[in-house]
């Protein structure tokens, strides 16, 4: 299998991955700031854990922390296999 980068909202649950890049320009300034504060940065390990029903938010592990984000924000985070 080739290591293809995918967006976080498309990442299958339970796949150990790493943040390849983040499209900061796709995010509102306050969203970008919160995302940074919660430890989103390139190179950080990430794993999608749970998806809310009916396109609800996504829970993911970032570093050692579990964080909930909406799908639209998750789509700005590009991940690659760890």
């Amino acid at each position: 299998m080739k290591a293809v980068p995918v967006r976080l909202d498309q990442l299958p649950l339970g796949t150990a991955s790493r943040i390849a890049s983040i499209d900061w320009s796709d995010l509102a300034p306050n969203e970008a700031r919160r995302l940074r504060e919660l430890g989103f940065d390139h190179g950080v390990s990430i794993e999608a854990l749970h998806r809310g029903a009916m396109k609800g938010p996504l829970a993911c592990r970032v570093g050692r922390m579990i964080v909930a984000v909406r799908r639209a924000v998750a789509a700005a985070v590009i991940v690659e296999p760890a």
């Binding site: 919660l38 749970h50 938010p57 829970a59 909930a68």
Partner: protein
């Protein structure tokens, strides 16, 4: 004498800051507000081993020093010595979640850069060990250049060492120090934090297995929402069924008190005021303390266990449908206890329009002050029948009232978001902390603080209002043999006559118009008002307080009227303290006036629809 040096407790949310604050100060705390902003100020006293006193202030939990919300603004201003109503701290205790070093250290670095004497409390060290993390404390201390003390706040471990380190940090005089440095750029600090975290963590294994396992149930797209609904249902059933025995004790104590007063005091004005106004009035409100405490106990336990933010996660999809985020769920759930802390909790919502909408709908959540009213009316009119095993009809009706409030709030939010609070949308981004066993001590302190607030209200506002109402309903006295009812003839009765034409179409009688006047002070006063109104109508020969209010109500109201009264209370903005808090939070009179107008209209319409439907159905 110089005041005790001030030490500020700072840290990320979920680092166990409040637990550490409770462990260090015990029940010696004062909860207040910073002037001008509605950020909670918690201070407590503690003493060092050599007897020196310290004052500890628990600053709001924040992720950084970028002042994006009022909380962060206050934290930053206190540290820079610029916050009105706060002395400049002599030292900082930074609370860090040991299992989450790579993230929490970034804030630590930001704080150390300020140049204040700092001690790091490496909290939840037991959880780190359980997670298979081994942290080199000495190395961490060397990297950071400040003392690091491992603690387990909920088990009161590491507190002695922390006190010793604090004694050194404060030094002899404990001169206030001003922060001089500037916090650095987030991303750079974050990388530095990760480097240090990796360097000091000796051993690592993958994350918390327990949290993972629990989350796979709690956050499951199908099981999760069912579990949440079940939990809420159990909570409301418990509020009704577990409280029966303590309510009975309180009622017995109350009738003993009024019997004693009747026996020992000479008859006349003072005795009537004391027995009919004070003991029966205040007593009928205090009787609901058990229910309020049960509700708060559930909320506090759910919060302390880490489940509450999971509930926010599950609710986000639903809330986003009406233009809110799951973040609004926590203030709204707090509003089930009381809208005031709920409205104050909205300050954690960054987006101003999200926040405004949440504030405006918070009074629609069924607060505990409505419980006494619901309990009396349901108790009087709804038979205590089982409809399903373990599910009583009374509990079911109560559940429906809560649902009505929630639906009303969702509808109002949808409308508000499309009209007066249009645009924006702050999104939803939240840390999901690890599950943990709630510390009974923290729950007990929280409950104690709530009970005290409620009893203080009962002792002041409610006491004054019931006494005033008793006077207004007792005077002038109806002339002997005129055939008029005392509650119609009195001053209050005459005021109620003005309101009556407005509420008559929705099924309210004169007594009810009378009872809803004093509820503007506090909703639960409705119970004591009805008590006062009906015990006075009963005449002097009948012993007051002996006959239960419920029986009186059954005699005076029809079922459609009772249901309309319940519907009214779901929506009516009958609590001036809430309106005052909205004024303070929104900085002006427009939004509180708006809230009054829209909620009274909703209440009238809801009561009307209920009354007309119930009458048409022949109930």
């Amino acid at each position: 004498m110089n005041p005790a040096p001030l030490v500020a407790l700072v840290g990320n949310p979920n680092a166990g800051k409040s637990a550490l604050f409770n462990a260090l100060t015990g029940a010696r705390q004062k909860v207040g507000n910073y002037p001008g902003v509605t950020v909670e100020r918690k201070v407590g006293r503690m003493s060092l081993d050599d007897g020196r006193p310290l004052e500890l202030v628990d600053l709001p939990g924040t992720y950084s020093l970028d002042p994006a919300s009022p909380d962060e603004q206050v934290t930053r201003d206190v540290l820079f010595g610029r916050q009105a109503g706060e002395r400049t701290p002599s030292a900082l205790v930074v609370v860090v979640d040991a299992t989450n070093l790579d993230n929490h250290l970034r804030f630590v670095l930001q704080l150390i850069a300020l140049g204040l004497p700092t001690v790091v409390a490496l909290n939840m060290i037991d959880m780190a060990v359980r997670d298979g993390l081994e942290i080199d404390t000495a190395r961490l201390s060397a990297e950071l250049g400040v003392p690091v003390v491992p603690t387990v706040a909920v088990r009161k471990r590491g507190l002695d060492e922390l006190r010793v380190a604090l004694g050194r940090a404060v030094g002899g005089g404990g001169k206030p120090a001003f922060a001089s440095g500037e916090p650095g750029e987030i991303t750079k600090l974050q990388r530095e934090a990760r480097r240090i975290a990796a360097a000091v963590t000796v051993q690592q294994s993958p994350g918390n297995a327990w949290t993972q396992r629990l989350d796979s149930v709690a956050l499951h797209p199908v099981i999760g929402p069912i579990l949440l609904a079940a939990l809420m249902f159990v909570m409301f059933q418990a509020v009704f069924s577990w409280s029966q025995a303590p309510i009975e004790w309180l009622a017995n104590a109350q009738s003993w008190l009024s019997d004693t007063a009747v026996r020992t005091l000479p008859g006349g004005f003072v005795r009537s005021l004391l027995v009919e106004g004070v003991i029966n009035g205040v007593g009928s409100v205090v009787a609901f303390l058990p229910q309020i405490l049960i509700l708060f106990a559930f909320i506090l336990v759910l919060e302390a266990s880490g489940y509450m933010v999971r509930a926010a996660f599950l609710m986000d999809r639903l809330m986003s449908g009406v233009g809110l985020s799951g973040r609004a769920f926590i203030p709204l759930l707090s509003s089930f206890a009381c809208a005031i802390p709920g409205i104050m909790a909205t300050r954690t919502i960054d987006d101003q329009r999200d926040r405004l909408t949440t504030i405006l709908i918070a009074p629609l959540m069924t607060c505990s002050a409505r419980l006494p009213v619901y309990a009396v009316v349901i108790g009087a009119f709804i038979p205590a029948r089982r409809v399903l095993p373990g599910v009583g009809l009374q509990g079911l009706v109560l559940f429906c009232l809560y649902i009505a409030g929630i639906m009303g709030a969702m509808g109002a939010a949808a409308v508000l978001r499309r009209t007066v609070a249009r645009g924006g949308g702050g999104g939803f981004m939240l840390e999901l902390p690890k599950y943990q066993m709630p510390a009974w001590r923290d729950v007990a302190i929280g409950l104690w603080q709530r009970a005290r607030i409620f009893m203080r209200r009962a002792g002041t506002v409610i006491l004054a209002v019931t006494a005033a109402l008793w006077l207004l309903t007792s005077y002038p006295q109806v002339p002997e043999g005129s055939g008029l009812k005392q509650s119609d003839y009195s001053i209050a009765g005459r005021i109620a006559s003005v309101i009556e034409p407005i509420v008559r179409p929705v099924g309210f009688n004169h007594d009810m118009a009378l009872a809803i006047i004093p509820t503007m002070a506090a909703r639960e006063v409705a119970v004591s008002s009805l008590q006062t109104i009906y015990s006075i109508n009963a005449g002097d020969d009948e012993k007051v307080g002996q006959q239960r209010l419920a029986e009186r109500l059954r005699g005076a109201w029809s079922l459609p009227t009772a249901l309309a009264f319940l519907a009214w209370f779901v929506f009516a903005p009958q609590c001036l303290s809430t309106i005052a808090v909205i004024r303070r939070e929104t900085n002006g009179w427009f939004w509180p006036s708006f809230t009054l107008a829209y909620l009274f209209s909703l209440a009238w319409i809801a009561a009307g629809i209920t009354f007309w439907t119930a009458t048409a159905l022949g109930l």
